[in-house]
């Protein structure tokens, strides 16, 4: 006789499947490689998606607590490596991968995470130039948020001591790589701000791989830099290394040594500047003194030429003086003229023809009216006129004696 078939309930089957899966050693912890599709971030915070390859697909669930720790945001089409366990969900019988961790597959894993964070923080405005604070030209106290050991800090101290020992240095020691590094750096940045003693912060570390520098790409550090009231200079790795700290900071230096050079002036240059300033001040004052001397001389000269009021008074005096002299001269001339006139009059009087005539002399004129002073001027029979003091006679020349 045949035995009747075993009949299981659905529950039993599903439970058995689950047990079988969970008892399979390999399924307890494994890595699965595939492409994400049907990705859904549930409101609960859990991730649900499918990992597929060319031939098959596998359901994946990632619970909230694990999902939150991801360094990147999963997207459809992304090739990933997921770490977790295989089991099934008894209610549905669905076989799934319960992923505990996931990373983008390939060498660019961290790079992708970097790019995504950079983009997100940029969109939030953490890199805005308007937010950046000016770096003080002559810092009094500089806080170094870095490892207290290693070449980086020794180089910075040495360079700053040579260039500008005036600045006081405060070291806030932190871890610069590893899991705890980011939190350590962020805390130190807060401590510097809380103490409020520094007027400049330099944070960074020496060169290393992307993993080594990763702390300076972490969001917590970026935000601590952004919210620092004290200006922050980011100095991570070597010249080609660019970290998110570099974008958020108020200034970037390519290396810690470069930061030391950028952040403090060189005292040799300062001495030179002070010397040239002294020369400028001296020549400026000498010019002023010279100008002043010239101004004084001009004033003095003008005063000698009389001031306006004195000038007028003097001119008036001059005028009066001249007028006086003129008058005197004129009077004298007048006197002289009168005298001369008088003399002339007397002379004329003395020699006046009338006076001469009165003495008995007479004036002889010919018919042309010409006065005849000599008999030589007469011809016998000519008509002449004789003028007496009183009256006149017309005569004819009878005889001429030429003596």
């Amino acid at each position: 006789m045949k035995e009747p078939p075993v009949v299981y309930t659905v529950t039993q089957v599903n439970q058995t499947i689950k047990l079988l899966l969970e008892n399979t050693a390999a399924f307890r912890g494994l890595y699965v490689q595939g492409e994400i599709s049907n990705f859904k971030a549930h409101s609960s915070g859990h991730y649900y998606f499918t990992l597929k390859d060319a031939q098959a697909a596998l359901s994946v669930v990632m619970f909230r607590s694990d999902a939150a720790r991801l360094r990147f945001r999963p997207e459809n089409g992304m090739k990933v490596l997921a770490r977790g366990r295989i089991s099934s969900y008894p209610k549905s019988g669905q076989v799934q991968l319960y992923a505990a961790d996931m990373m983008p597959d390939g060498i660019g894993a961290l790079t992708i995470a970097f790019e995504q964070l950079k983009q997100r923080l940029y969109e939030e405005g953490l890199f805005d130039t308007e937010h950046k604070k000016p770096i003080p030209a002559f810092p009094s106290t500089i806080a170094l948020v870095t490892s207290p050991t290693g070449a980086a800090i020794r180089d910075m101290l040495r360079i700053m001591e040579r260039r500008y020992p005036v600045a006081k240095i405060q070291i806030f020691p932190v871890l610069v790589q590893g899991q705890q590094a980011a939190a350590s750096i962020a805390q130190a940045l807060e401590d510097v701000n809380r103490r409020g003693e520094a007027d400049l912060i330099i944070t960074g570390r020496g060169g290393g791989s992307l993993e080594d520098l990763w702390a300076f790409n972490e969001e917590i550090v970026a935000r601590a830099i952004y919210y620092s009231d004290i200006p922050v200079v980011s100095a991570v790795g070597h010249e080609p290394d660019v970290t998110i700290s570099d974008f958020v900071a108020d200034a970037r230096a390519s290396t810690p040594s470069n930061a030391a050079e950028l952040c403090v002036p060189d005292r040799i240059e300062l001495h030179r500047l002070l010397l040239s300033q002294n020369a400028e001040m001296t020549s400026a004052v000498q010019n002023r003194l010279h100008e002043h001397r010239v101004a004084l001389q001009t004033l003095e000269h003008r005063r000698k030429q009389k001031t306006p009021l004195g000038y007028i008074q003097d001119k008036r005096f001059e005028l009066d003086h001249v007028t006086g002299r003129m008058q005197t001269a004129m009077e004298q001339r007048l006197l002289l003229q009168r005298k001369q006139f008088g003399e002339m009059a007397a002379y004329l009087d003395a020699y006046s023809p009338l006076k001469v005539l009165a003495r008995g002399y007479s004036v002889v004129t010919n018919k042309n009216g010409r006065v005849i002073g000599s008999s030589a001027l007469l011809k016998k029979g000519e008509t002449i006129a004789i003028q007496f003091a009183k009256g006149r006679a017309e005569c004819t020349v009878d005889q001429i004696r030429r003596k």
Partner: protein, 75 residues
């Protein structure tokens, strides 16, 4: 002068040089500025020459924060 920070002193000196060079100030003022300027310059120069770098470490232990001298070579 000692109350001023190095930066404040440098800035004040720069102001004085600019004012003197502009030639706007009357002679009395110019002479006073010159005096102040030379004093500042001497102070700054002396500070630069005599300065010794001071380095400290902020140490945290059991929730306490302490500032202690730091020597790079021995750390």
């Amino acid at each position: 002068m000692e109350e001023m920070t190095f930066e404040q002193a440098m800035k004040r000196l720069e102001e004085i040089v600019t004012q003197l060079e502009s030639g706007d100030a009357p002679l009395e003022k110019s002479l006073a500025l010159f005096e102040e300027g030379t004093k500042l310059s001497a102070y700054l120069s002396k500070t630069l020459d005599n300065a010794e770098q001071k380095v400290t470490l902020i140490q945290k232990q059991n929730g306490q924060e302490e500032e202690i001298p730091f020597d790079a070579e021995t750390e």
